[in-house]
Symmetry: C2
Subunit: 415 residues, 2 copies
Amino acid sequence: MSVGTELLLGEITDTNAAFLANDLKGRGVTLHFKTTVGDNLARVVSTLKQALERSDLVILGGGLGPTDDDLTREAIAEVVGEIPVVDEVYLEQLRGFFLSRGRTFPEQNVKQAWVLPSGEALPNPVGTAPGWFVRPTSGEHKGKIIVALPGPPREMKPMWLEQVIKRLKLPQSGFYHRTFRTFGIGESHIAEKLGELTLASNPSVATYARRDGVHVRVAASSGTLERARTLAQLVEERVKSALEGFVYGTDDQTLPQILARLLSAKGQTLSVLESMTGGLILDELSNESGSSAWLKGGAVAYTLGAKQRYGVVLEPGVSEVSGEAALEMATRARSFFGSDWAISTTGVAGPELLEGKPVGTLFVGIAGPSGSPFFATMGAGDRRTLKERSSMSALGLLWRTLLADKGEAQMGVNP
Amino acid sequence: MSVGTELLLGEITDTNAAFLANDLKGRGVTLHFKTTVGDNLARVVSTLKQALERSDLVILGGGLGPTDDDLTREAIAEVVGEIPVVDEVYLEQLRGFFLSRGRTFPEQNVKQAWVLPSGEALPNPVGTAPGWFVRPTSGEHKGKIIVALPGPPREMKPMWLEQVIKRLKLPQSGFYHRTFRTFGIGESHIAEKLGELTLASNPSVATYARRDGVHVRVAASSGTLERARTLAQLVEERVKSALEGFVYGTDDQTLPQILARLLSAKGQTLSVLESMTGGLILDELSNESGSSAWLKGGAVAYTLGAKQRYGVVLEPGVSEVSGEAALEMATRARSFFGSDWAISTTGVAGPELLEGKPVGTLFVGIAGPSGSPFFATMGAGDRRTLKERSSMSALGLLWRTLLADKGEAQMGVNP
């Protein structure tokens, strides 16, 4: 249950439920229902009652603040039929917290020190709102578990992992899964390569078309995690060999992460000259900590004048939106920034045609120590989507080129 | 109700519910509950039954595809106790759709041509799944309305706006709201300035701390939209004057949008030299269509060597992370790219200290036709959050500088 009018109206995006669903799935617990309800006591109470009727464990996120709008504690107390008492020790800590910051303690905040007779408060080292772990010992909800967590993810996550999990005493997990992230191959082509592998249900093999390429997930259940892993092993090997040359990473690994590792391992540097992608490639690469070590520099150059500042010269009749232009941009960026590798993008992000080329056109240039290819591709979507897909294509092509340079994969398949 | 295991597990983000909640709010209908349920017939049925017990209108999103996992039609039929019949006319259209693409018609797709006796199918010009509009004429749910919409937003939105709204026959809307987006002022400082304005409930004035600054929303309800607007007017004026100099836009306007308009109106150009923000500012600006007209160029330069390529020279003893460096970067970018304005960022995105400066340190330089100030600020958060906040700060400072240059607002308040 996510509690909060802002969540209900989508004014803030609820990422907690997905985090909890995934974490629980890995521990063998399946999420059946997720309900969002506004800051209204009667509705939180009725939703919690329903949730307890159909589930053994109910997790509430949000509504633990100190204001009159924060009603999660009140709702739990009403549903389990208990009266909250004030935890005097924690109340003193709370007062001290405010005093140490030179602020007076607002009396309404006392309720953040409440506990229920059948519950315990979960410490929150990051904020003022403790969580609640409630296990009614009598009444109609006897034996059920109610967990209340703060709304902010940076408070919720450590509390869940460090405080709640150990109290839940879950049976040993028997769910194993591994995701392979691919580049340069479509979902139907993958389905062909996987063939009958996708028909079995345990281990199961499923494909998901994502913004950053198609993900292939192998999952297996068994009595223990170890047995599930063993069960999945053979299928995992077969999936890996069927998709050879297309898998850039596993599980949470992203392309910028993989590129960062490859470049660091080779002791090489990269620069970027972006037209079509307008800075997005640089933004994505610079999200990696330590990127300043291998990201030698980069620029956004839309106009021919801007490109010329980096030494770009186009033969008469050569379009700025062409493979030749992409190659020239990459080659010049490589020498301007003095990097081992350089990538460039030129294309049409829309909404209007450019140089007669349709929206979605993309050329990627790559310049490197062992030669400089260019690639052409077409995408569809609005301006932002095109920028994202183009950035992904450019990074994927660079990944394949870097691998080929090490002799680890063959080139030549266009995305 | 959002139907789909991928939604429940957060593997795809549900944006439909927020769109519907906001659209309905503007029409005077309040969303009370939002439930997400996986592709499981018994659970969709039980959730729909509960929803119909507590609401007059239930909207389901997703589960209208042709596969065995798409169970929304089956669930509605079971809950209202009716047997679906095949709409032969639509079935022929569906067959034609497949034939015209040279594909055979899969027999399982017949269920996309189902209708219920008490319902009608809603045409879907964008996809193959029609929606459903069901109003049971007998039984326990008589008089209630069930709407089923396809999951993909680009199919859902036109169907909602063009097909569902006119069938709902809602009373004339009486809800008016306006959001003011601010820069350079915190929530508590805004609360002080607004004073007693926030105490009334109609019109109400509420503040929301968002990633791109604090939003202040004025909302009013009355019999008609016109009366609600009139009711809000005076309060809106008072909020506007209380926040003078801090409001950069209203409703959906973003800072890059506002900057694009200001620069276009002035016929001036901009360039960017980013260190701390690593390309994010360029990415955000280039999301605006037509940005190539005023975004003269930009670059990411982490190292001193990279900065020197743009002409940056630092006096001995001057740190790369300093106001002087930010100012020098902006000044040099302005002449390198030949733009009217230039902004720069230098700071510490983390996770490690840089030049002895703590993570979160940010200096923004602005160079322009009428002088070049720099600004210093501190942020908190992880690398990505810091990049986002720093980008917002830099864009906000540029906004204030551009306004001051027109003589429309006074400067001097740091963010």
